[in-house]
Symmetry: C2
Subunit: 219 residues, 2 copies
DNA sequence: GTCTATATGAGGATAGAC
DNA sequence: GTCTATCCTCATATAGAC
């Protein structure tokens, strides 16, 4: 009883215009339609109330199914979360490792591309990204380790971009570790407050944060 | 069963050197010793596993009490969380509204003082601050509104400091809303990664982030 | 592949002794 | 103010029919 006192209903989840991201295109095309709908429903529920406050009934009711139907597609609730985490972190990594951000680019251009793409991704997928950032503690130890690996590989692209600029003299002689963390903080923390219906579309915010990132490494 | 698969034991919580903050001096002196110990235990549990994954047994066992003992001091688990939220947000607000940050100061000095104090507070109390940032959704609607008010009042000090510098020409003509959000993101997001045994003591990180904040408003 | 029904057990909260 | 014992709800997951 007390556990649910602050909860929102499923209808709230569906209607809330602030949770306007229905995770379009986040899931593998090979997944059955129903499985993808369940994942999208889980994303909204987890983002709104948290993993542990979300029941299998919440997830399935929003798709018009009984709780038992979920177990045909996923062996457990934790694996639903893990699928979301995997998809989200893989996409975010793909954003910064994409050949559209060439290794050969000028250090400032490269940092700008990485920050703007990473930021825009988090903005566009802010609901799923919120789950990816807030619910790490709910994963099993094994799944957590797997996600942590993806995060480290993503962070490396940021650190390398800063390191390169410092090395070739395009940036000031900044503390790479601390500055890199600051840049990641800016992009990640937006999942706490960003809304698609706000004034900044994802790409515009990406540009803005890329500008800020360059200010952090300027003499 | 599945709900607890990724959990840590109470002993992990006590032993983990990364959760080295025992919330010293956070609670009102008027609270009985036992109540304060319960709050500190709850902070560690909530920070580690989240509010919903923490049981009243977790909280009390770490203090050597039975679950029933908690209800002598607090009427519900949610009120334990609310007490933590109130204390944390009030202290953070006090940090930036303190007379040690005079209204009359030079705009850059004032912004520097606000950012460094707010940042250092989050670093020193990073475990409690993590609960304050991550568990807002677990509050009842009424309690949530009360905490939101404290947060808005805190944010105003940041926005006013930036606004003033822009108005009197000490800062560039930046987008106040977006830049203020960026500064808050830097200070708040550190609760995700900060550890007291790392290389940066709270005050040093505060100085560093104050420097970054000024870079964001420089021409 | 979806349903209804249910096994199983965890967890918030309370009763009542000391 | 703390304990032991327990109530009662609710959630994950499964069984078995369709």
């Amino acid at each position: 009883m007390a556990r649910r006192q602050a909860r929102f209903t499923t209808q709230d989840l569906v209607d809330d215009p602030r949770l306007d991201d229905h995770s379009p295109g986040l899931w593998s095309e090979e997944l059955p339609e129903v499985a993808r709908r369940l994942l999208s429903s889980a994303v909204r529920c987890f983002a709104k109330n948290g993993y542990h406050a979300t029941t299998t009934r919440d997830i399935t009711a929003a798709v018009g199914l009984s709780p038992a139907a979920m177990y045909v597609h996923f062996p457990s609730k934790e694996l639903v979360l893990f699928e979301i985490m995997l998809a989200g972190h893989r996409r975010a990594l793909a954003c910064v490792s994409d050949p559209a951000v060439p290794e050969t680019a000028d250090a400032a251009d490269r940092l700008r591309a990485i920050v703007s793409r990473y930021t825009a991704w988090h903005a566009r997928h802010h609901v799923a990204a919120r789950v990816c950032q807030f619910e790490l503690a709910a994963l099993t130890a094994e799944h957590y380790a797997e996600i942590l690996d993806l995060r480290h590989r993503t962070n490396e692209f940021f650190r390398d971009a800063v390191t390169r600029g410092v090395a070739d003299g395009s940036f000031a002689d900044v503390d790479v570790k601390r500055v890199t963390r600051a840049m990641l903080s800016l992009s990640i923390d937006l999942v706490r407050w960003y809304r698609l219906d706000g004034s900044d579309p994802p790409e515009r915010l990406g540009q803005f944060y890329a500008d800020l990132a360059l200010k952090l490494v300027e003499g």
